[in-house]
Chain length 335, copies 2
């Protein structure tokens, strides 16, 4: 396997192509605060993982990456729209090491700027349609990919919020929630890339399954980072997930395996805004002693293997190698 550096360079290169397009489709216009708010998180960084899924999937089946850029940008716009709205719903202050949109521009403009990005998703799709003259069938398929992903994200986000007040979440509930909140958009990205690149129905389905499993692995590892990484890596304070009472697989596993005393301690910590550094460290030690962190990494790795299996039937090529490395990167990244 090649080094992580390779795939990070590839991500950066793809990201530049996408950002050029996004800069064009999202020029600062009137009223300025609306457009500045919409650009805020996009300008603050991000790895542009989903656009790379679109581009590499497209190339894998013989598509031209240049022709797929508007669609790759569309999934990034969709992702950023959901970040803005999720941060309001979760009352988060920081993301990508900068203040969240609603903290900087207020809730009303933040809501409107998310809506603006959502509309720009379909503007990018319209651009692609004008450039590529697809059949109405392909058109409807691409629309459905974007719509289903957006709907899944809404459903997953509402589940995520509702799980915060419950200590009775089963592992299956958790998977359902992250499939909606996170994996659905990775699935849409690979399906869109495949369909745009000329994949047949079987190839598109395989790519979709790859994206879905990769997305599950991504979220599982994200939860792991949330419990173990430092502030600089997270772009937000250590222990945020814990303080918000976020239901992660780590928590589900820990609650399931804790003694009644340990369980009580964890229940008291979840959603407690006033946790100290020491409290957070103690809970981290509890996770380790219960095997909850290693269990989460194990499940993440299973999804990585599952994702890779989905690419088995595709001929070896650079794009396939990139997709294989991307999913490895998902569970080894430091940020």
């Amino acid at each position: 396997m090649s080094t992580a550096g390779n795939i990070e360079a590839k991500l950066a290169k793809n990201g530049q192509l996408i950002d050029l397009y996004i800069n064009d489709v999202l020029k600062i216009s009137y009223p300025e605060p609306l457009y500045k708010a919409a650009r805020h998180l996009l300008d603050a960084g991000g790895k542009r993982l989903r656009p790379s899924f679109v581009l590499e999937s497209s190339v894998l089946v013989g598509g031209e990456p240049r022709r797929t850029i508007p669609l790759a940008a569309a999934v990034e716009l969709l992702h950023n729209f959901t970040l803005i709205h999720d941060d309001i719903m979760d009352n988060d202050d920081l993301r990508r090491s900068v203040p969240t949109v609603h903290r900087l521009f207020g809730v009303p403009i933040a809501i409107a700027s998310g809506d603006l990005l959502f509309a720009k998703v379909y503007e990018a799709l319209s651009d692609w349609v004008r450039q590529n003259n697809p059949t109405s069938g392909k058109m409807a398929f691409l629309l459905d990919c974007l719509n289903s992903a957006a709907i899944s994200i809404c459903e997953g986000q509402v589940l995520d919020i509702s799980f915060e007040s419950s200590m009775e979440i089963k592992e299956s509930d958790y998977y359902r929630m992250i499939e909606g909140k996170t994996a659905a958009l990775f699935k849409a990205s690979t399906e869109i890339g495949g369909a745009a690149g000329g994949a047949d129905a079987r190839e598109t389905a395989a790519l979709g399954q790859y994206g879905l499993s990769a997305g599950m692995a991504f979220q599982l590892f994200d939860d792991y980072l949330g419990a173990t990484a430092d502030e600089k890596v997270l772009g937000k304070p250590v222990g945020s997930d814990l303080r918000e009472g976020k239901m992660t697989l780590i928590v589900v596993h820990a609650l399931d395996h804790a003694s009644s005393q340990e369980r009580e301690k964890l229940v008291r910590a979840l959603g407690n805004q006033h946790l100290s550094r020491t409290d957070i460290t103690e809970i981290g030690e509890l996770y380790i002693s219960l095997g909850s962190l290693s269990y989460t990494l194990k499940r993440a790795d299973e999804y990585v293997q599952k994702a890779k299996q989905c690419l088995k039937e595709f001929p070896d090529c650079e794009a396939k190698q990139n997709l294989l490395e991307l999913v490895d990167f998902f569970v080894t990244r430091k940020y």
Copy 2:
């Protein structure tokens, strides 16, 4: 001219067709609170004016109304999505005589339910594409109509909010704001109906101009109702616009024509949450004495005439008669 009863019966009949489709595309699903929130305002009423614009415009150019239903539903879904988010931004408690979505379900679910409706807009479009196999050009045009309207609404809403804190709004600023907030979606509705029904570019443009002017008349009369109608008609408390400091043409005109003493009184009242009934009545009397209400009605009527002019080149038929009556209804309605 025929009686208002005719057009109201037509609206009700079109509305039933649309609601059947919306009920199907927006079935209560999991998680239930998300879907119940998304349905809340749709179930509470509404005149379904925009879908009737789509259907009648389509019929005017020879389209089959039955085939246009998904597009007519799409604009109603778009409208309702913006209502949910606008009510959060404006911190409104009541709409259509029921509590607003965020009052009933909380802000997080309200945001997500608006986003869900927005995704359903494009799901309805995808339905229509599958049923009608349009060319990619028509497809892109319809996408652009929906996207531009959504973007204009975001822009208009942000202007509306920003105008609340300013007493220096010019009449031209006001028109720009309501063109975005309200008229753009009426324009999109008639353009979409025209394009779906088979209109050529010139006919589509004329229909779009009709929709735009009709939408301006609608909003001007809405402002008039907001200053003069009672609670039962408004579906929200009397004086809401005044208490929120909403910038209407009535206010712009009054500020422009008031003596310095009257101006001071009005400035004190605007945005004052604690206005009494007497205060509101006094401001109403000021509007009358300054001619601000009649000026607003006059401008609304000018837009009505402008809208009707746009239909001049279309042959006389029932759909044309309906569109003419619709715009009359806009400025004579009691609710």
